[in-house]
Symmetry: C2
Subunit: 262 residues, 2 copies
C-alpha cells in the first residue's frame, strides 16, 4: 500500500471508492484533513448539529451534507457512500455490522456529518518536534470516558470522551500553544494532570485504544475526542446510524494548515 | 492618591517627577505598560543587551536608551532619572541605598534598560476572568530561584527566577493561551506542576515576595520573572548599577494591548 501514501486526496479517495485501498488511513495523503464520519436520519440532523455547536471541542464539524446528498463540496469531491474504506452500521444504537460502502444502505433521508480529528493537530505537534507516545509506539491513542458533561441537545447528551498524550510540562505548554491554533480539530487540551479531576478512575486502563506509558516527569494531557459524538449518537438510538470504521477515515481536500486560525 | 489612578501616563510621570506621587505604581494608569528599570555603565551595556536577547522570557527588553541619554522615545516622553518613584543603587553588586531620583547620580556613562513586567499580562488574565491569588489577597506575587540556567553573556549568567500563580488546569490552559500573546512581557509559562522539577525546594517558602496558597485541584504555574535580570546584574558586579525600587515602576505610554502579538 506504500505507493498510495503520497497520493493526493482525490486519487486516494478514488482508490478507496474502487476497492483498491482498504484499511487505516493514518499517514496517507499527509497534510490533508481526515474526518470522523457520522450519518444520521434527517429527523436527528438538526438536533445533532445543535449538539455539535454546543460542544465544539469534542464535536468540531468540518462538513455537513444536504439531506439525501452524499456530496460535501466544502471538503472536495467526496462521496460519503464510498470514500471511507469501511463503515460501521448501528441500528437503534446497537452495532449491526460493518460494510465496505453504503451504495445499498444510502437513502434520501440521510444527512452526513464530518467531524475534525486529532490527526490534524498531531501532525502540527510532530512538525514542532514534540514527541507523541502512541505514534512512537505504533499503538492507538488511549481514550477515556470522563465525568465532563456535554451540553445536551434533544436526544444527544452524555459525557465527553478524551484522548491522552503524556508530556513534560514544557512540552505540554508548547502543545497547548500549537493545538490552540486548531479549534476545528479539537483545539487546546481540556485538562492536564490529575485524571480523577475529570472522573477517570484508572489512567492505566483506557476505555478505548491502548495504554500509553506516563514516564517520570510527565503529566497526562487530555484533549476532547471525536469518540464523544459517536457515543452520543449511540445513546440517542436513531433507527439507523452509520460511522466510519475507527481509523478508516474520510480524507478531504482541506489542508491541515488551512485549519490554523493564526 | 486615588485621584492619580486614572491619570494618563504622561500626567502620572509628571506627578512622580515633581515629587507629588510616591509609592507602588500597581493599578495606576491601567492599560499602560509598566517596566522594570536597569541602568548600567556603558561597558556592560552590550553584554547585557546580548544577555537579554539570549534569555527573552526572563528579560524581555521593551526599551533601551542611548548611552548617556535619559530618554527612551519608544516608551513616550520618559526621563529615566526622575520618572520611577524610587530607585535602588548597587555598588559592586551590593545594595547601596535608595534614592528618589537620579539627578545627582546620572552620568554620561549610563545606559538604561526597560524590561517588561508581568503586570501587563496579569491585566489580560483578569480581563479574561481568571483569578490571580496574590492580587485577590493583596500580597506580593511569590517568586522563586530555580535551577533553570540562563544562557550566559559575558559577566551575566546565573539562573532564572520565576513567579508563581496557583490555578486549576483549566484556568492554566486558558492562561497559557492568553500569556502566549504577550512575549514582550514574559509570555507563556515556563513550567507548571512539580516545583522540584525546576529546583524549587519548598513551594511554601518563596525566595522573594509572599506565599500564595495552592488550593485543592490547583497546580502552581510558573512564569519567568523580571527579578532574573536584576539578580544577573548583581552577580555581574558593575561598579554602579541602578534599578527601580520593587513595585515602583516606570510607567510608559505603550498600551498593554499593543504588546499582544495576535
Amino acid at each position: 500500500m506504500n505507493s498510495t501514501i503520497w497520493m493526493n486526496p482525490d486519487d486516494l479517495r478514488r482508490e478507496i471508492r474502487e476497492g483498491r485501498f482498504r484499511g487505516p488511513t493514518a499517514g496517507h495523503s499527509p497534510g490533508y484533513t481526515q474526518g470522523n464520519l457520522a450519518i444520521l436520519p434527517r429527523e436527528f440532523s438538526e438536533e445533532f448539529l445543535r449538539f455539535c455547536r454546543l460542544n465544539p471541542k469534542a464535536c468540531p464539524v468540518i462538513g455537513v451534507s444536504e439531506p439525501g446528498d452524499w456530496r460535501v463540496p466544502e471538503l472536495g469531491e467526496v462521496d460519503l457512500r464510498t470514500d471511507a474504506p469501511a463503515y460501521c452500521v448501528f441500528r437503534d444504537g446497537e452495532p449491526a455490522g460493518e460494510v465496505l460502502d453504503l451504495r445499498e444502505l444510502w437513502t434520501d433521508d440521510m444527512v452526513g456529518f464530518v467531524i475534525g480529528c486529532s490527526m490534524s493537530f498531531e501532525e502540527a505537534l510532530l512538525e514542532a518536534g514534540l514527541p507523541i507516545r502512541h505514534i512512537e509506539q505504533a499503538t492507538t491513542v488511549p481514550m477515556y470516558d470522563t465525568s465532563i458533561a456535554n451540553v445536551p441537545s434533544g436526544r444527544f447528551g452524555g459525557t465527553m470522551v478524551v484522548s491522552m498524550r503524556p508530556m513534560t510540562p514544557q512540552q505540554a505548554i508548547r502543545a497547548i500553544q500549537i493545538t490552540s491554533r486548531f479549534p476545528g480539530v479539537h483545539g487546546a487540551p481540556v485538562h492536564f494532570g490529575d485524571p480523577a479531576a475529570i472522573g477517570i478512575r484508572n489512567i492505566e486502563q483506557p476505555d478505548y485504544g491502548e495504554r500509553s506509558e506516563i514516564q517520570p516527569g510527565e503529566v497526562p494531557v487530555f484533549w476532547a475526542c471525536g469518540v464523544t459524538p459517536q457515543r452520543a449518537i449511540r445513546t440517542a438510538r436513531p433507527k439507523l446510524a452509520i460511522t466510519h470504521k475507527p481509523g478508516q477515515m474520510l480524507v478531504s481536500d482541506v489542508r491541515n494548515s488551512h485549519l490554523a486560525v493564526f
